[in-house]
C-alpha cells in the first residue's frame, strides 16, 4: 500500500530526465483511434493511379467532390447517348470514372472529356458553396465597379480556374502508361475542361423596382452541366482521327498529329480526338468492351438509332405493357392556385432481344 503523506521524502527522489522520456513515450499511445481512416479507403477505391491515391489520402474531402463530379460526367454521358447503341456503358469493373472502354474510339474520347469537365465543374461548385477547404469564391472578381456599364462585382463568383487546375491535377494523374492512348486521353481531358471554361456565364441582379435595372451587381456562375453535355456531344460528332508521332530519340509517342492532315499538323485544342474506329456495339464483346444492346429499351416507330430496327441490330424485340400515370390538364384557378388532373394511359415498351 502506498499513501503519499510525506512530500519531503518524495521531493528528494526526483529525476526529471527519466520522467520526460516516460512522458514522450506515452504520448504515442494517447493518439486516438479513428474509426475508418482515409488511407485504407483510398487504397481500396478501384481504378485510381498511385498519384491519385496520394491526393485521396491527403484530401478525403476533395475525393468526395471528385466522385460526385465524375458521376456528373457519367450521368450526362448516359443522357446524351440514351438513344444510341452505345449508351455510355462498357464491360468490366466499375471505377470512379465509370466503366472503361478498351478501344481508343470516339466514345472513349467523349467519356474522358466529360468526366474531366465534370470533376472541374463539381470542384468549382463545391468551392463556391463553401463545401471544400482551401478554396472559395474567385478573389479576382470582387469589388470592381464599372461606372459606364453601371455594374459591379458582387456575391460569389465561381472560381473556375481552381476547379480546372484541380481536375488537371487529379484526372490527368490517371495516365501512367507512356503510350499513344495517354496522349489521346490527355488531349480529350483538356478539351472537356476548355469547354467548361468557355461556357462560364456572367449573371447579374438588378436593384430597382421589381425587375428594372438601374444598378446591378454581377458575378460569374457555372453553366448548367447539361449545356456542357450538348457542346461535347457536338464535338463528339466532329471528332478527328489522330495518330501518335514517336520522338526519334526516346522511341516513345510524344505528340499527336491529324491522320488526314498534311505534314505534322496538330489537332485543334478544343476538338475531341480518337485513335481507332468504333466497333458497332451490337453484341457483347470482351475485346472491345462493348456491352451490346440486348435488353435495351427501343422505340417501335423511330427510324433513328433509338428505333428497334437499328438498336437491336436486326435481332428483333420483346413487347411489355404497363400503365403510366401523370399530372395533366393543369389550369390556373381563381384565386390563386394551379389545379391538375391525374391522367393515366396504358402503354407498351419494347426491349431488344
Amino acid at each position: 500500500m502506498l499513501i503519499i503523506s510525506s512530500r519531503n521524502a518524495l521531493l528528494s527522489v526526483y529525476y526529471p530526465q527519466i520522467f520526460l522520456i516516460l512522458t514522450s513515450g506515452s504520448y504515442l499511445a494517447l493518439s486516438s483511434v479513428v474509426a475508418l481512416g482515409a488511407n485504407i479507403i483510398c487504397n481500396k477505391i478501384p481504378g485510381l493511379a498511385p498519384r491519385q491515391r496520394v491526393i485521396c489520402q491527403s484530401r478525403p474531402d476533395a475525393i468526395i467532390v471528385i466522385g460526385e463530379g465524375a458521376q456528373l460526367g457519367i450521368n450526362e454521358c448516359q443522357y446524351q447517348f440514351r438513344y444510341g447503341r452505345w449508351n455510355c456503358s462498357a464491360l468490366g469493373e466499375r471505377t470512379v470514372f465509370g466503366q472503361e472502354l478498351r478501344v481508343g474510339s470516339k466514345e472513349a474520347a467523349f467519356t474522358y472529356a466529360i468526366t474531366a469537365a465534370g470533376v472541374a465543374h463539381a470542384v468549382t461548385a463545391a468551392c463556391s458553396q463553401g463545401n471544400l477547404s482551401h478554396c472559395g469564391c474567385d478573389r479576382e472578381k470582387q469589388g470592381y465597379h464599372d461606372q459606364e456599364e453601371g455594374w459591379k462585382w458582387g456575391g460569389c463568383s465561381a472560381d473556375v480556374k481552381y476547379g480546372v487546375e484541380f481536375s488537371r491535377r487529379f484526372v490527368d494523374a490517371r495516365e501512367i502508361k507512356k503510350n499513344a492512348r495517354r496522349l489521346m486521353n490527355l488531349h480529350n481531358n483538356e478539351a472537356g475542361r476548355k469547354v467548361l471554361e468557355e461556357r462560364m456565364k456572367l449573371e447579374c441582379k438588378c436593384h430597382g423596382v421589381s425587375g428594372s435595372c438601374t444598378t446591378k451587381t454581377c458575378w460569374t456562375t457555372l453553366p448548367k452541366f447539361r449545356e456542357i453535355g450538348y457542346v461535347l456531344k457536338e464535338r463528339y460528332s466532329a471528332a478527328v482521327q489522330v495518330e501518335a508521332v514517336r520522338a526519334t530519340r526516346l522511341r516513345q509517342p510524344s505528340f499527336l498529329r491529324l491522320k488526314q492532315g498534311r505534314g505534322y499538323q496538330k489537332p485543334p485544342v478544343t476538338d475531341l480526338v480518337y485513335l481507332e474506329r468504333s466497333p458497332n456495339y451490337c453484341e457483347k464483346d470482351a475485346t472491345t468492351g462493348s456491352a451490346g444492346t440486348q435488353g435495351r429499351l427501343c422505340n417501335h416507330t423511330s427510324p433513328h438509332t433509338d428505333g428497334c430496327n437499328l438498336m437491336c441490330c436486326g435481332r428483333g424485340h420483346n413487347t411489355h405493357q404497363y400503365t403510366r400515370v401523370w399530372q395533366c390538364n393543369c389550369k390556373f384557378q381563381w384565386c390563386c392556385f394551379v389545379k391538375c388532373n391525374t391522367c393515366s394511359e396504358r402503354t407498351e415498351v419494347f426491349t431488344c432481344k
Binding site: 527519466i18 481512416g37 479507403i41 478525403p60 438601374t214 393543369c330 391538375c340
Partner: protein, 944 residues
C-alpha cells in the same frame, strides 16, 4: 489488490492542476501507466511538477490511490458477472473477491465486455467513494456506472443535484467519466450506415461496425456485404471518407461544417451536457459526438423540446401523404400531418418487418423478443413499422409515438414471454417506450389498419410539395401565380435556395434574410444574414446580444426567457428578463353585468364609434381615441382612412421620378424608421420579360410584372392576374377596416374581406363579443354549411378559416430594421414569408395588424364554396404554423422578421361531423379507449 484498479480515477484529479500546465501534463500521464513499479517511480517524481501547495490535487490523488475503504457488498466487478461469456468464468466471477481471482479462468481476449464493465465499475467505485456517508448521492452516483448503456442525461443531472454540496470531487470525477464516454470506436461511424442505399447493406454495415475492430476487417466486410467497391460517389463511402481524419502530417484543420438550423435548437436543451453535445454536433459535423448524442439525448424524455426541434429541422411536420407502395394505408390523407412520407421510409418499413420476422425487435437500449409476426397480428405490425417510419405527427405534441394501449396489446399477444428478461412484462416495456397516454400525443394504430376513408378523390386538397419533387439545393414552393403560356404548368415550383450552413439540409429562399446563432459567442447572440444568389449566406451582421439567462418575475414566480404565460386575458412572454404582453383590454372580475354587456374590448375603453383616422404606421384606427391609446399623438394621425388619403398629393419625389402610392403597415418604430406610403419610380429603361409576377392595371390590362407596367406608364390596380370578377368596382370592407374598390385589391394587399360594402363599423375586439356597431344582416352567408366559424378581432362577420393571433416583439423588429439600412419591417414582409409555409394550394394566407397591435393571420380556403375537407386542411395549416411559432422552431423563426414572434394563439373552424364524409377515421379513433400506448421514436426507426 493491484494498483491498476484505481488508476483511472487519477485523471479526475488532474483538473485541479489546470493552472500549472506541466503539472497537468504529468498528472494526466498517471492514468496511462500500466505497471505498478513504474507508477511508484512516477509518483515519486510528481511533486517536482506539482508543488505541494496544490493541496486539493494531492488530497485527490491520495484518496484515489488504494487504501480507500472498500464497499462491504461484494467485489467491485460483481455486477458485471452476467456479461461473462463462458459459464466457468461467470461462476468464478460471482465467487471472486478481487479481479486477480478471475484472471485465470476469464481470458482477457474472449471476455472483453466483462473486463470493460469491471474497469468501468472500478472507476465508479473511486468516484462514488467521495460520497462518504451520503447515501442518496452515492446511490445516484453508482447508478451511473451500473447501467450497461451509457448514462442518461437525467442520471447525470441527479448526481449533480444530490452531490453538489457533498463533494465537488465526485462531480468532477463523474463528469470526467461521462465526458470521455464512449471511447472513439468504429461505432461512432454507425450513422454512416444510414447513407447506404440498400437496406441489406445498411443492416450489415451496422453489424460490421459493432462487431469488428480493425479497419481492415471493417472495410473488407463492407465491400463483401454491400457488394460495392469503395467508390467516392457512393453515399455510404462518402460518409466514411468525410468522417475520416486526414493522416497526421496534414497541417491544417478541416474547416468546421456548421448546421445553423440545428444550432438554433441547441438552446432548447434542458441539460448542459446535451446542449454542449448538440452544439458540437451542429458546429462541427465531422466530430464523432453523433453516437454519443444519440445515446444520451436522443431518447431522453427530459430533452423532448430539443429532440422535437431537431426533428422539425430534419423532417418538418407536413400535411398530407401519398404515393406509398407498401404502407398503402397511409395514402390519401391530405389533412393529417407526417414527417417522413416518402419512398425511402416506405422501403424502410418493409425492411423493418423483414428484420422483425427473425423474432427480435432490436431497440437502441433493449431487445424485445417476439413470436412470428408474420402469423401474429401481421396487420398491426405493419402499421407499427409504417407509423415509425412514415412518422405521423401532431401539431401540439410534435412527437411520433405509438399509443400505449396498442403497445401493450400487441406485445401481450405477440411478445415471446419465454424469452423476456426476468421481470419484463409488456406493460413495463411499454412504460419505458411510451410513457404518454394522451390521444393528442400518440398515434392510434387503429387509424392505419385500413385505407383512408377518403378513397381516391384527392383533387379537393393536394399537397404538391409533399413528397418533395425538387432536386436537392432547390426549395419546393406551391405555384400560386400560374405559368407562362405554352410552358409546362405544374402545381409547384422549384426555386434555388441557400443551405443554413454547409452541413445543413435546411434551405431558405433566395434574397430572404435569416437569423442564425453567432459562432463563438454566447447563447443569446445572433447574426442576420442574406441568402445571396450564389446560394450562400452572405452579408452577415450581428444583432445586439440578449441575456437569455435573465428571468422574469410574474406573480412571485420566475419565468425563464422564451416562456409564454397568461396574465388576466393577456398572452405574455418573457424576453430577456422583460415581460412582453398584449395590449388587450380585459374585463376584471368585479365588472358589473352592464359593463360586461357593453364591453367591446377596444383599447382604453374607447367607444365603438366609427370615425376612422389614419395613423402614421399606415394603419386605419376606428376612432382618434383608439389611435391615441395606441401611443400616437395628435400630430401622428389624420382623419379619414389611410386608403382615402393620397400620399402623392404634395409630390415628394424628384422631378424625373413619378410618385406611386405604396401602402404599407409598419411594425417598427415610426419616428425612427419612417413608414413611407409612396415610392418614387423612374421609368425603367429595361425590364426582365421572363420574370412572371403578373399585375393588373387600372384599365384592366395585365402585365407580366410591375416593372413592365411602370415602363408602359400605367397605374397599378392590384397584383395578380386581371380578374373578370374585379372588372367593375364593387366596394368591400377588409378586416383591417379599410374600404377597397374590389375584392382583388383587398386580396392583393393580402387582406381578407369582412363584408361586401364600404366599412361602417368596428367589430368587437374582445374574445366574447357582446356589443358592437355591426349589423349581422350585412354579413355574407358562411361559405360552408356546418362550419363553426371564427370572428377575427375587430371584424363584424364570422368566416370559416383558421386564425392565429400573434404577439410579437417590437424591440426586435426595430433591430431588424436597423440592420436592413433603416428599412421599416412591414406586415406584408411577414405575410409573404408565412405564405411559403402554407403547403396546400387550396388554402391561402391573409392578415392584418389588429387594433391592439397583434398580428392576425387568417388561413382561408381559396375556393368560393370550400368543401369540409378544404376547411379542415386550412385549419390544420393554421395549427401547424401556430405550433411552429410556440415551439420557436428554427424552420420558421430562422426567417427574419418572423424571429420577432413571441407567442401565438390559434382558433380554427371545425366542421360538425354531419358535414364530413361518412367514415372519417379521426374523431372515431380518439374516442376509443383502446388506443393508448407508445414507442418514443422521433429520429431513428426500430431495428438494428
Amino acid at each position: 489488490m493491484g494498483l491498476i484498479r484505481n488508476l483511472t480515477g487519477d485523471q479526475a484529479c488532474c483538473h485541479y492542476a489546470v493552472e500549472v500546465p506541466q503539472c497537468r501534463e504529468a498528472c494526466e500521464q498517471l492514468a496511462t501507466i500500466r505497471s505498478e513499479s513504474r507508477l511508484k517511480h512516477f509518483l515519486q517524481r510528481l511533486p517536482g511538477y506539482c508543488p505541494e501547495s496544490m493541496t486539493e490535487l494531492w488530497t485527490c490523488i491520495n484518496s484515489s490511490l488504494p487504501g480507500v475503504p472498500q464497499k462491504p457488498e461484494g467485489w467491485v466487478g460483481l455486477g458485471c458477472c452476467e456479461l461473462a461469456i463462458s459459464p466457468d468464468c461467470r461462476r468464478e466471477c460471482k465467487q471472486a473477491s478481487s479481479k486477480n481471482d478471475i484472471t485465470k479462468v476469464c481470458k482477457k481476449d474472449t471476455e472483453k465486455p466483462l473486463y470493460k464493465c469491471i474497469t468501468k465499475n472500478e472507476m465508479g467505485s473511486v468516484c462514488c467513494s467521495y460520497a462518504g456517508r451520503h447515501t442518496n448521492c452515492r446511490e445516484y452516483c453508482q447508478a451511473i456506472f451500473r447501467t450497461d448503456a451509457s448514462p442518461s442525461a437525467s442520471q447525470i443531472k441527479a448526481v449533480e443535484d444530490y452531490c453538489q454540496s457533498v463533494s465537488p470531487q465526485l462531480i468532477s470525477c463523474v463528469s470526467n467519466y461521462t465526458k470521455s464516454y464512449p471511447n472513439k470506436t468504429p461505432k461512432d461511424s454507425l450513422y454512416c450506415c444510414d447513407a447506404a442505399e440498400e437496406a441489406h447493406c445498411q443492416t450489415s454495415c451496422k453489424h460490421i461496425l459493432r462487431t469488428m475492430t480493425t479497419e481492415h476487417e471493417i472495410i473488407e466486410g463492407l465491400i463483401k456485404e454491400c457488394r460495392s467497391e469503395p467508390l467516392p460517389q457512393d453515399p455510404l463511402w462518402q460518409c466514411f471518407l468525410g468522417n475520416a481524419n486526414p493522416p497526421p502530417p496534414e497541417p491544417e484543420k478541416p474547416p468546421k461544417k456548421i448546421d445553423w438550423a440545428k444550432l438554433h435548437c441547441c438552446s432548447k436543451a434542458n441539460t448542459s451536457q446535451c446542449r454542449d453535445m448538440c452544439q458540437d454536433v451542429s458546429t462541427n459535423w465531422d466530430t464523432q459526438t453523433w453516437q454519443e448524442f444519440d445515446q444520451l439525448c436522443e431518447y431522453n424524455p427530459v430533452e423532448t423540446d430539443l429532440i422535437t426541434c431537431l426533428a422539425d429541422v430534419r423532417e418538418p411536420c407536413q400535411l398530407g401523404c401519398n404515393d406509398l407502395a407498401y404502407c398503402t394505408n397511409f395514402n390519401n390523407r391530405p389533412t393529417e400531418l407526417f414527417r417522413s412520407c416518402n419512398v425511402q421510409s416506405d422501403q424502410g418499413a418493409m425492411n423493418d418487418i423483414k428484420l422483425w420476422s427473425n423474432g427480435t425487435i432490436r431497440m437502441p437500449f433493449m431487445n424485445i423478443p417476439v413470436l412470428d409476426i408474420r402469423k401474429c397480428q401481421p396487420d398491426m405490425w405493419k402499421a407499427v413499422a409504417c407509423a415509425l417510419q412514415i412518422k405521423p405527427c401532431y401539431s401540439k405534441s410534435r412527437g411520433s409515438i405509438i399509443c400505449r394501449s396498442d403497445c401493450v396489446d400487441i406485445l401481450t399477444q405477440c411478445g415471446d414471454r419465454k424469452r423476456f428478461r426476468e421481470g419484463m412484462t409488456p406493460e413495463r416495456i411499454c412504460d419505458l417506450l411510451s410513457p404518454t397516454d394522451d390521444p393528442e400525443r400518440c398515434i392510434p394504430l387503429e387509424r392505419y389498419l385500413k385505407p383512408s376513408s377518403l378513397g381516391n378523390f384527392i383533387e379537393e386538397v393536394i399537397h404538391p410539395c409533399n413528397p418533395n419533387p425538387c432536386p436537392s439545393n432547390y426549395l419546393c414552393e406551391v405555384n400560386r401565380k400560374g405559368c407562362h403560356v405554352g410552358q409546362d404548368c405544374l402545381p409547384y415550383l422549384c426555386v434555388p435556395g441557400c443551405k443554413l450552413g454547409e452541413a445543413s439540409d435546411f434551405l431558405v429562399h433566395m434574397d430572404t434574410r435569416v437569423q442564425v446563432p453567432a459562432q463563438n459567442a454566447g447563447l443569446g447572440c445572433y447574426n442576420v444574414c442574406t441568402c445571396s444568389p450564389s446560394g450562400r449566406l452572405e452579408n452577415c451582421a450581428p444583432m445586439p446580444c440578449i441575456d437569455t439567462g435573465k428571468k422574469c418575475m410574474v406573480g412571485g414566480q420566475a419565468k425563464s426567457h422564451g416562456t409564454s404565460f397568461r396574465v388576466n386575458c393577456h398572452p405574455c412572454s418573457c424576453y430577456a428578463g422583460e415581460i412582453v404582453c398584449s395590449h388587450r383590454e380585459c374585463l376584471s372580475s368585479d365588472s358589473t353585468d352592464d359593463q360586461r354587456r357593453h364591453f367591446t374590448g377596444l383599447p382604453c375603453g374607447c367607444p365603438n364609434n366609427f370615425l376612422p383616422v389614419c395613423a402614421r404606421n399606415g394603419r386605419t384606427y376606428p376612432t382618434a381615441c383608439v389611435a391615441r391609446c395606441m401611443g400616437f399623438n395628435d400630430s401622428h394621425f389624420h382623419f379619414g382612412t389611410c386608403h382615402t388619403s393620397n400620399p402623392c398629393s404634395y409630390n415628394p419625389c424628384s422631378r424625373d421620378k413619378r410618385c406611386v402610392p405604396r401602402r404599407r403597415v409598419c411594425l417598427t418604430d415610426t419616428s425612427e424608421f419612417p413608414c413611407r406610403q409612396y415610392e418614387c419610380v423612374s421609368r425603367p429603361p429595361s425590364c426582365d420579360k421572363t420574370q412572371l409576377d403578373p399585375v393588373c392595371d387600372t384599365d384592366n390590362m395585365e402585365h407580366p410584372n410591375l416593372c413592365m407596367l411602370y415602363q408602359r406608364g400605367k397605374t397599378l390596380a392590384y397584383l395578380g392576374h386581371c380578374q373578370d370578377a374585379c372588372r367593375k368596382p364593387q366596394e368591400v370592407c377588409g378586416h383591417n377596416g379599410e374600404t377597397y374598390g374590389t375584392i382583388c385589391e383587398a386580396y392583393s394587399e393580402r387582406v381578407a374581406v369582412d363584408y361586401h360594402s364600404p366599412c361602417y363599423a368596428v367589430g368587437a375586439v374582445a374574445e366574447h363579443p357582446s356589443d358592437s356597431g355591426c349589423n349581422p344582416k350585412h354579413c355574407p352567408p358562411l361559405s360552408t354549411k356546418g362550419c363553426k366559424p371564427v370572428t377575427p378581432p375587430g371584424a363584424c362577420c364570422p368566416l370559416c378559416a383558421g386564425m392565429l393571433q400573434i404577439l410579437w416583439n417590437k424591440q426586435q423588429m426595430n433591430a431588424f430594421a436597423k440592420l436592413n439600412r433603416n428599412q421599416p419591417v412591414t406586415l406584408h414582409d411577414i405575410l409573404r414569408i408565412l405564405r411559403l409555409h402554407v403547403s396546400v394550394p387550396q388554402c391561402d394566407i391573409f392578415g392584418y395588424l389588429s387594433i391592439d397591435s397583434e398580428i392576425v393571420i387568417l388561413i382561408v380556403p381559396v375556393d368560393q364554396t370550400p368543401t369540409p375537407l378544404q376547411i379542415e386542411a386550412c385549419s390544420k395549416e393554421a395549427e401547424k404554423i401556430d405550433s411552429l411559432i410556440n415551439y420557436g422552431s428554427p424552420t420558421l423563426v430562422s426567417h427574419v422578421p418572423l424571429s420577432a414572434f413571441l407567442t401565438s394563439e390559434v382558433k380554427v373552424s371545425t366542421i360538425s361531423s354531419s358535414a364530413l364524409p361518412a367514415a372519417s377515421p379521426l374523431p372515431l379513433c380518439l374516442s376509443l379507449p383502446l388506443l393508448l400506448l407508445l414507442l418514443t421514436l422521433v429520429g431513428a426507426p426500430w431495428g438494428l
